[in-house]
Subunit: 423 residues, 2 copies
């Protein structure tokens, strides 16, 4: 597959250059050369005279989605066991399912379907957990790379308090990580990220070893933080000498700049400060936080205090892989939070939630804001005619809002990832 | 269109005979004669020997949905203006849109699409609001009747505190209601229901007149109750002599047995008692209550106290017409309620929410529980192969749970309403 020398998309262009700030260009031009964005233009610059223009008609061209926390091997579990809470759900559903990824053929089959579903829904950048298995992790890398999905991928580490079928020996886990990295480090599009599952299933020795590897290779880390009340109590019990959940990572050098910590539902001021000081991203996973009855992350408080926030589906703790569903859930949850806080924490607007699910994730991965010139092209083209049939002629901003509430994967008629057309 | 003399569906049959109680029959038979349910059988009774059997294979045959509170003329508004709250949203979006239904051709076009979308999503019974316009109401009746949708339909009444374009003169409103009823009363499938919009836009004279009509014709009533803090404050201001919001209806004879009051987010003990004593149904509309930042209805408290509860999409205050989306929202909201109440109000299970969205509504309309013998056949057939592709072989109960989280209208491969095949 090749990128096009010059790609010119004509249509209604929407991007989110800032938190809550949308840029709307009606009948504009999005230009990319050799797969990299040249810019968004109201009228086509002279130097592209005579170049082929792909006319998207009245369709909407917008940034594709960044899913910054999700578990690929939990894809088969979507929508299952969600009357449970985190720890029970992990034991009953997640661990037995992840253990099956020892079978690489099974892994290939599942990851192929997962990657197709991801791209079909317009998600082109991720920070994804694999299982503990190296072979499965290679299979996931291949399935995603074929569709030019960019971002981070992590082989999971866990060496205690979990079933034998999925528990690693500490030394073997570290050795496997080194082996995986040897193969993964040259990949510049889907880069490796150190992935201790979470404190309850990782010994100090493992966490410390992973901290050393991350330091030596200059890699970020992804994990879970302060998601569920029982989980937090368990961490306190397991690590009585720490100042807080965050500290159980920090003392092993795992709160590295650019790292990602999912959930942060119950992060106190000290923990939020640790994230901020260390340049760690908090990943808001609203579907998961509802589906596993975890609680409400006060997103706006993080943003206000200057902690970096992006968004994730957290499949299969969250039942929605499709990011507009996650955006809708974030907005809905923020409305209940507004009520729960006696109206002191304002709701998230659709534009704010869209920013968290697009530009915020892209920035975490080193890209610019919105359709930033020089960045590889990541975009989707959405035909909203099905949705607007009963009510045409709305301004572009309203059409965008309606899409976030109502679009389905089938409405996405084209997807570009890393400059390649993949749908 | 004719019903079939004998219809035998073979497949995996799921129904909800009680709150939280599912009846699962694998490879069973659902039989209907002349459009009415004969029963669900593990093996086919001898007397049907030789009759044609429609084999649904591994598909799931289940009760179709009852949407017991929704506004058909708000269909064009789905997903719009939801960063607002109720009163502002009504003024900015709803009233101007509903005013357009004075144009009967427009109404026909919208209602045709609405009815198709409703059936396509497996909703076959409703309690639906039309607009204030009689002609539009006839058009809605026709569009729904062509697809054999059963339940209640109401011409809206409103005579104060709303734009001129939609406000009725009090006497004219009552006269129009009488005219509509003359034409509507003979319809035994889609029956008329008295529909004062809500207290803030209805004068005492109008409410009293409607109370008399309801009494004379023996009709139930549908309206809104205790949805939003500002709305409740307004009612208190407008009706200082009442004991509560419920009393503003009751004193005019509008809390009639079998009536439906949507939302009840802030109903206190006295209001809940008034609903119970009067045999009025509370309609839980979780999507709307989130989307318009209204609040959380403590569903389980209503159920525990013996108040009848069913479920509604409340489009377009709620952005989802598709009832599995409403079921998912109800469960998610109940999980946040569990947290907000310091874990004192247990979550709604998927099975409980499904009951509220099926059997509860059917009972409100006079039908039995589950697939009750003698009732007109209302059912859907769902092919979950798309959803289960990565994880086959789950027990039927888990497949059902996964469907509630993940199904899309396209997964519904057949729909029967009032015994007629309509999809």
């Amino acid at each position: 597959m090749e990128t096009e020398k010059i790609l010119i998309l004509k249509g209604n262009i929407i991007s989110a250059p800032g938190f809550g700030r949308l840029e709307l260009v009606e009948n504009g031009y999005l230009v990319a050369e050799d797969g990299n964005i040249t810019g968004v233009f109201k009228s086509l610059p002279d130097r592209f005279d005579g170049a082929h223009v792909t006319d998207c008609g009245s369709a909407i061209i917008m940034q594709s989605f960044c899913d910054m926390h999700l578990h690929a091997p939990q894809y088969p579990l979507l929508g299952l066991g969600l009357d449970m809470q985190l720890m029970e759900w992990l034991d009953t559903y997640t661990y037995p399912t992840e253990a099956k990824f020892k079978d690489t053929e099974y892994a290939k089959r599942v990851f192929e379907a997962f990657a197709q579903d991801l791209i079909g829904g317009g998600t082109t950048r991720v920070s994804v957990f694999s299982s503990v298995h190296n072979e499965a992790t290679y299979a996931l890398t291949e399935a995603l790379s074929r569709l030019h999905v960019a971002g981070y991928i992590g082989k999971v580490n866990m060496d205690r308090s979990c079933p034998d079928s999925i528990r690693e020996d500490t030394a073997a886990s570290l050795r496997a990580t080194e082996e995986w990295l040897e193969r993964a480090l040259p990949n510049k599009t889907l880069r490796p990220i150190i992935t201790p599952r979470f404190v309850p299933v990782c010994s100090d020795e493992l966490l410390s070893g992973l901290g050393h590897i991350a330091y030596r290779c200059g890699l970020p880390v992804q994990s879970h933080l302060s998601e569920n009340i029982k989980e937090i109590a368990l961490v306190r019990e397991l690590c009585p000498e720490t100042y807080g959940y965050w500290h159980a990572y920090e003392r092993h050098g795992l709160l590295r700049r650019g790292s990602l910590m999912a959930h942060c539902v119950y992060s106190d001021l000290r923990e939020r400060n640790a994230l901020k000081e260390n340049g760690v991203w908090a990943v808001h996973c609203p579907c998961s936080n509802m589906d596993l009855s975890s609680g409400i992350m006060p997103v706006r408080r993080f943003v206000y205090e200057g902690v970096n926030v992006c968004m994730g589906s957290d499949i299969a703790g969250g039942a929605d892989l499709f990011m507009p569903g996650v955006i809708k859930a974030a907005v809905r949850m923020s409305k209940l939070n507004w009520i729960a806080t006696a109206q002191s924490e304002p709701i998230l607007s659709i534009a704010e939630a869209y920013y968290l699910a697009t530009t915020a994730g892209a920035k975490c991965l080193g890209a610019g804001a919105g359709f930033a010139p020089g960045d590889p092209l990541h975009c989707i083209v959405v035909d909203d005619s099905r949705i607007s049939a009963a009510d045409e002629g709305r301004p572009l901003g309203e059409r965008f809002e309606r899409l976030m509430y109502r679009m389905q994967p089938a409405d996405i008629i084209a997807v570009w990832a890393e400059g390649y057309r993949v749908k």
